[in-house]
Amino acid sequence: MCLGIPMRVTESDGVFAWCEGRGRRERLNVLWVGAVSPGEWVYAVLGQARERLDEQRAQQIDAGLDALEAALDGQTDLDAYFADLLPRS
């Protein structure tokens, strides 16, 4: 389902950028988002930086992906991963 991952730019030459996220390091094409600077967050899909992300959104997506890994691993109580999305009662 078109899953991508948030990655943080470490170096960029304007056309491609080396990025790191979720334990991976990848050289992304930045055609979709234009020039990026080290420290910026992007959403990486299919070798492309598809969207710029702010840090909060990058962390929300990261939490969602953590929850997904846990769910695929058989865990059923995932509320802790969505602390900023779930209403506390």
Partner: protein
């Protein structure tokens, strides 16, 4: 988190592709939504699936509305349409030219991607019409969509200096395999009754290997437009017909020409037992969401995405490739890459070739 990939293994013997196995390792990510309160679940979906985030977001909101039995009229969503146009532009301006050895138009892509992402209504603007005329088709979208006869189309394809015509010429020069797949293998755009009765309930197993009326089907621009008179005459050229279908959709989106279904169509179906099902037409084809609610929480959530239709192990890709004559292994790999691009996956893929001894 591994986003997964498509592993495509071609069998090649005596100058022919003799078979194709498709292994899809994409995680079924909707599982993560089970048990969540419905509001954050709906908010999370476009975050997790941001590649077609507009379509996923609209589908999730409409699925909730349908599960709560709110009315949600059939509608055309301008944001989903503009998102689909960006995907079509990417393939037509950047990917297909690279695959065919032509100059990509990256600057034009970047410009229109920004404009359409910021303002979906730019899709129907005179400026976008001018771009399609001067930057892609070599004639107005209206005049180009009017090329309904094979001889008119062939004349344009043969002689126009426009980038889209160059794509058609380059594809033809590479040779097509006519093994092809039949128009009957296409998934039509269903009305509400058929969409509810043909699939009584969606499941995770269905989402992995979806079928319609007993067999896998293809979804996407060609499936939506396969009854178009010009595309019907091009059906024996399976790669060209899918490329031209995408061009036609861009022109039709710009014109707001709804004679055939277009990306952006959203249909929501309230079903029994607090279930809501949504069908959204996206660039790559039909996206379905089905939400089952229990006590304000997600009891089940199923997402059926276009890639699982188009890369079904017994579906369109093996039909396009099996039996095709290719003089060399690199030619077989090239044909496979083009067929994959024509079916437009939203996940990375890998092609390997198994050479078999000649019989």
């Amino acid at each position: 988190m591994d986003p997964g990939k498509l592993e495509l293994r071609l069998s090649y013997a005596a100058g022919r592709i003799t078979g194709l196995s498709v292994v899809n390792s994409r995680p079924q990510a909707a599982i993560v939504l089970r048990g969540m309160p419905v509001a954050p679940a709906v908010a999370l979906i476009p975050q997790l699936f941001a590649l077609c985030g507009q379509a996923q977001g609209v589908a999730a909101m409409a699925a909730r509305a349908a599960a709560e039995e709110e009315t949600f009229a059939l509608r055309h969503d301008a944001g989903v349409a503009a998102e689909a146009a960006q995907e079509h532009l990417w393939r037509l301006l950047s990917d297909w030219p690279r695959e065919l050895g032509l100059a990509p138009q990256d600057a034009a892509f970047v410009q229109w991607r920004r404009i359409l992402a910021a303002d979906p209504s730019a899709l129907v603007s005179p400026d976008f019409s001018d771009f399609l005329d001067q930057g892609l088709l070599g004639m107005t979208p209206e005049a180009w969509l009017g090329l309904s006869r094979a001889d008119e189309f062939e004349s344009w394809c043969r002689s126009s200096p426009a980038p889209a015509a160059r794509l058609c010429r380059a594809l033809a020069a590479g040779g097509e395999c006519v093994a092809g797949s039949s128009p009957e293998a296409q998934l039509p755009v269903l009305d509400a009754n058929a969409a509810a009765s043909d699939w009584p309930a969606l499941s995770a197993a269905f989402a992995l290997r979806p079928q319609w009326r007993g067999r896998p089907r293809e979804t996407g621009a060609y499936a939506r437009r396969h009854e178009d008179p010009l595309l019907a005459t091009l059906a024996s050229k399976p790669l060209l017909v899918r490329l031209v279908a995408r061009m036609q959709e861009l022109a039709a989106l710009m014109l707001g020409d709804f004679a055939l279904p277009l990306p952006g169509a959203v249909m929501a179906l309230p079903l029994e037992n607090s279930r809501g099902r949504v069908l959204v037409e996206t660039a790559r084809g039909l996206l379905m969401h089905e939400l089952t609610l229990a006590d304000g929480r997600v009891a089940d959530y199923v997402i059926v995405a276009p890639t699982e239709w188009n890369f079904h192990p017994d579906g369109a890709l093996p039909a396009l490739l099996t039996g095709c004559a290719c003089a060399t292994e690199p030619q077989a790999a090239s044909l496979a890459r083009r067929a994959v691009l024509a079916l437009d996956p939203c996940v990375a893929y890998e092609i390997t070739i198994d050479r078999q001894a000649s019989p």
